[in-house]
Amino acid sequence: MNLTDAEILELTELCNALADGTLTATQRARLAERLAASEAARRFYVRFTSLAASLCQYAGEMQAEAPDVARATPRLWRRPALWWSVGPLAAVAAAALVIFSATDFSMRKTATGPVELETQDYVAQVTGMKDCAWADGATALEPGDQVERGRRLDLAQGLLEITFDCGAQVTLAGPATLELNSAWKATLPQGTLSVVVPAEAIGFRVSNPQVDVVDLGTEFSVVARTGRATEVYVHKGKVQALPHAHAGHEQPALVLTAEQSREFDRSGSAEIPHATPPFQALAGSAPEEHAARPPESAPAEPAVPAVAPAPATNRFANALKFDGRFEQQRPAHHLTHTTPHTITFWVRIPAGTPLSAAGAMVAWVAGGGRSQGTPIHIAWNTDPAAGALGALRTECGHAAAVGATSLRDGRWHHVAVVFVPHGRGHGRLHVKQYVDGHLEGSVTPTLSKHPREKTRTAPSDVVWLGRRPGSPDHFHGELDELVISDQALAPQQIKKLRTGHQPDRPTNLRRRRG
């Protein structure tokens, strides 16, 4: 049965609103009603959305073909088109597999040579923005930007999502001020924020003149207003609230659980009657959906567990085994210290492996546009003065980040090391390590400006597996699913790689709209 003119007009209006992101709840209900009732309406809808999908493709092709055209700054984060190829290929890698996306590195400025320790570092990344305006008019953050420790953000309006390096995902609703104290702590002098804290980031803390809120595995919101009580709302899980002492009066710590809320001020704390959490429409996981019948031809698929299972024992059946003699070299173009990239892999090191068998797992010499390069080695720590024996150790020239978890236990561990050029590639490199999704150590070396200190190592287009160039020490153990991405991956993205096909934990903000 064909649609009448009136029906076509109505569907066109509804689909246009859908395409433009202006669909109201009433319109959505009406569209769903029409689609449920009419095959002709469904055909119209499929043709309309397919047109939009095709436009996405043609527009993407046009953009790729015209790199010199001045473009508006993207307001919303997007993943590079080639990014997807990294994960899937890792998943099918029979053994270590190195994949790069095509990025133009030719315009980056650089300095080369050995490195020295620098205290300033990045602690978070902007992972989403919507309609942001800044109170100082000078802030120019963009999605994907790294944010330094100690940075104060004065958001006049809009929504800003920041993912801390520990994995905590903070959404700030303007007007608000947020100070980034570390990868594990933020201060909210005023404004509203909502936090989603994955298991890896338990212990993340939001501080305020009235109260400190320490996450115990949860989602919560904090509302801070100058001269008024600070409100804490727990959507899921639980938090520990530590009220600050005023006039010498200590207040006891409180544990707030799901759907509890409390306000804190100088006189103490109290429950919030008839609390309406901020971000009510955004925070908290989605309600359970009733299962529905799949299309007839769809294959059965087991339910996806909420938490990634331990890697199946046969997952790494084809891992590369390093026995103290074996090593591999793979082509690796564009591994420079002036561009962001991330190295992830699985590793298993037999328990009790001697310290003499601690050669580099992955190593390369990072070039930067000149003949000299910075040697980078990912290995395990053999120096008890630097940290736990067996912990992940990433050396970048003379500086090293050392983790906490011993890899030398005979189990498979997922390792990710993120390299971010500091100050947009002008001489510093921020290195942070993740072991099994947990942030474990970071370091921000500065490239030396003294020519005498340059290494004699030339950058190469090769990544070494099982040994670092110029060293007789070999690695003993197994490696698998090596992935090199030309992005500074955020914790959620690393988690996604680690968990393979596991979906993201439900997030509660839909602000990335295209």
Binding site: S50, S54, A59, A72, E301
Partner: protein, 182 residues
Amino acid sequence: MNGNSKWRDDAERNKQLMLLLTQHQRRIFSYLYTLVPDRHDAEDLLQETNLVICEKFTEFEPGTDFVAWACQIAWWRVRAARQKFARSKVVFDDTVLAAVAHTAVELRDETDRRHEALEQCLKKLHPRDRELVLTRYEPGSDVAAAARRSGRSLVAAYKALGRIRKLLMDCVSNQLAAEGAS
């Protein structure tokens, strides 16, 4: 099977996988976009779908319909991600979603033809309209960005985009009808 032949088999399988994935990304994306009409959500799901396709590729029977197989996997990714998208502005209940998915599969061949026809229809647009609509659908862009770059007000951009989409829909339908008649 010795090591060398296994390596060759794996390499051949991976080559075939990448060929099929590359060849049919647009079709899988189009299917996903129909079910989750938000570019970024659909791209996220496309990545997840690609992962599962890679993992399960040994189960794919060569010579059968790869897109149909991939769309079944995509369907399950959408189902698995329903919680994730339940709070987005546009979400249909499972009954509607299943019905739309069924229609999308039925119209797959037509969708391919419409995609090719659209290329010609885009060329027929007034350059100013073509620039507006392509700017709107560029990665990372939105209506506001397209309005700014085209010098239109936001309201004018919404109206123009609605008009242009209708022009394109009509043009594509007419072109398919003409091809069918010839």
